[in-house]
């Protein structure tokens, strides 16, 4: 019997758990550790944040699904990994601390034969003074944050209805944020809601982003073939900003937020202030804090984890300039170096470097979007590692690993620009590969597969993905037929 332990129940961890359960016989044990009791389809938090969906529409409890699929579940947070075990047992172990209310604070040591770290991000609001739900800005990173964001947005809409102008700011906070796509979606959903409420003319809507150019999305932008001409995602998204009357400020790093005032710096080194009545700013992500110890109890955290808190995997972490970045720098198996039974997937793995060109202001402020590794790529990584582990268990440890490099795989990104079955809109993009490969493609990507379209159909696609992925995550009949 083999025991597989999965830390995290987000897109990659949950996908890995379901596939492992499908691929392995009942004599093998699959266990998930997650501090959250619910699964959240995060892409739809945008709609919760503008009141078009309720929290219950984007979350469901994990325990009943795991009970039905015979997957062990501990509602707890992992605090330490002991890859070589301890004095009592040489098998690897993970120390967990329960978050389940009845057992809150209780600790336990779980043993494993195979470990997947899919712990997702730590939302580092503290990186920017005054930012976050405890400060002066909103967030849509969790369903609860999105509910609160919608409450604040409604208050601002009520003020607008009295005829008083308001400024709404949406974007990224810290210069090293990722998930610019979420901010992009939210700003256009806010714009859509303001139009629906008939108050758009009184509102100033500003998009504040760490991207050096619009349409960068943390993936170095895209080049599309449009009616026989090459066009950039910069021009394409710029068109939408102009059409909707949304002001854009690019290349920003927010230094601090006071009540109704954002203090930020731009790539040219100048500093600015922006008064606001409502602000939603995405925080930077860090790795979920985990310690690592050897069998004697010595701290080996720096051996397993990068300083950012993300787990090192089979990537090339040699520091090199942007011009020397290559597709081969990106991991393919997600195995932790030196360990043939530990993997990190989704946001939990440490990327070798950014995808977009990193920049610094003359003051030395780093303004460089971090690489996105959520959604479709996360699910693919989870499934890939699940298949590797299943093969190792069934055919022995010499079974070749499955691979899924972000420099080979594609992704679809559907950025909502407003809801409604006949009035909705979305920017629907596909890119192949996610990480541009300038050695294979002159524009970095396969031009046949890298496209961007705006229209009502994009909204239908996003809505379809919402229902499909909730169905899949609930492991309903035929769930495995739905691709990651």
């Amino acid at each position: 019997m083999a025991e597989v332990l999965i830390l995290g129940a987000g897109v990659s961890g949950h996908t890995a758990a379901l596939h492992l359960r499908r691929l392995l016989g009942s004599q093998h044990k699959v266990t998930v550790v997650s501090p959250n009791s619910q699964w959240n389809w995060i892409p739809s938090n945008i709609w919760v944040g503008v009141g078009e969906m309720a929290k219950k529409d984007v979350v469901f409890p994990l325990a009943p699904v795991y009970a039905r699929k015979k997957i062990g579940f501990h509602q707890a947070k992992a605090v330490a990994i002991r890859p070589k075990g301890d004095a009592d047992d040489s098998r690897g172990a993970v120390d967990i601390e329960y978050t389940l209310p009845e057992k809150a604070g209780t600790t336990e040591r779980l043993r494993y034969d195979y470990l997947i770290n899919a712990t997702g991000p730590k939302l580092k609001f503290e990186a920017t003074e005054g930012m976050g739900p405890g400060g002066h800005t909103e967030s849509v990173c969790t369903a609860d944050h999105a509910v609160e964001a919608n409450h604040k947005l409604r208050e601002v809409i009520e003020v607008l209805k009295t005829g008083k102008p308001q400024t709404l700011v949406v974007g990224t906070g810290h210069g090293t944020c990722t998930c610019e796509g979420a901010a992009f979606e939210y700003v256009f959903n806010v714009d859509h809601e303001l139009r629906q409420a008939g108050v758009r003319d009184l509102a100033r809507v500003v998009y504040l982003t760490n991207e050096a150019a619009l349409g960068d999305f943390g993936v170095d932008g895209m080049v599309f073939d449009q009616q026989g001409f090459q066009t950039t995602s910069e021009l394409w998204t710029g068109s939408l900003f102009r059409e909707r009357g949304v002001e854009a400020v690019v290349g920003t790093h927010v230094h601090r937020v006071e009540e109704r005032t954002i203090h930020y710096e731009t790539l040219d080194g100048t500093t600015h202030t922006l008064e606001f009545d409502f602000a939603m700013l995405i925080p930077p992500f860090g790795g979920v804090p985990l310690q690592a110890y050897d069998a004697e109890g010595n701290d080996i955290t720096s051996e397993l984890f990068a300083p950012s808190g993300f787990m090192k995997v089979d990537a090339d972490y040699t520091p090199k300039p942007y011009e020397e970045w290559r597709a081969e720098d990106w991991p393919t198996t997600y195995a932790a170096p030196g360990y043939d039974n530990i993997w990190a997937v989704g946001i939990a793995f440490a990327p070798p470097h950014q995808i977009s060109k990193p920049r610094k202001s003359p003051n030395g402020t780093v303004i460089a979007p971090s690489p996105p590794r959520t959604g479709m790529p996360s699910g693919v990584m989870g499934k890939t590692v699940a298949m590797t582990i299943a093969d190792r268990i069934k055919h022995g440890t010499s079974a070749a690993p499955h691979t899924a490099s972000m420099a080979r795989m594609g992704a679809a990104c559907v950025a909502s620009a407003g809801t409604g079955l006949t009035k909705g809109s979305a920017a629907a993009m596909t890119m192949l590969p996610v990480v541009p490969d300038y050695q294979r493609f002159t524009t970095g990507r396969d031009e046949r597969e890298t496209r961007g379209e705006l229209g009502l159909h994009g909204h239908w696609v996003k809505l379809m993905l919402h229902y499909l992925f909730l169905y899949k995550a609930k492991a309903r009949p035929g769930w495995q037929m739905i691709p990651e």
Partner: protein
């Protein structure tokens, strides 16, 4: 290729991007983006493209 990289200090001293060079959609394009029949076919085409990409690029 047109780039939207010029900063124009405006709007209370904030370096808001000058988007005057960004192409505005024509009335025909805006209509096409809302046309249910056209959009249905774009929906089908986009889904097929996702599936092709899944087959081509995931493993």
């Amino acid at each position: 290729m047109t780039q939207l990289s010029m900063h124009e200090p405006a709007g209370g001293g904030n370096p808001v991007l000058d988007l005057s060079k960004a192409p505005l959609p024509t009335a025909k394009t805006l209509g096409a983006r809302r046309n249910l029949w056209l959009q249905f076919w774009r929906f089908v085409a986009f889904d097929l493209r996702i599936m092709r990409m899944v087959i081509k690029g995931h493993h």
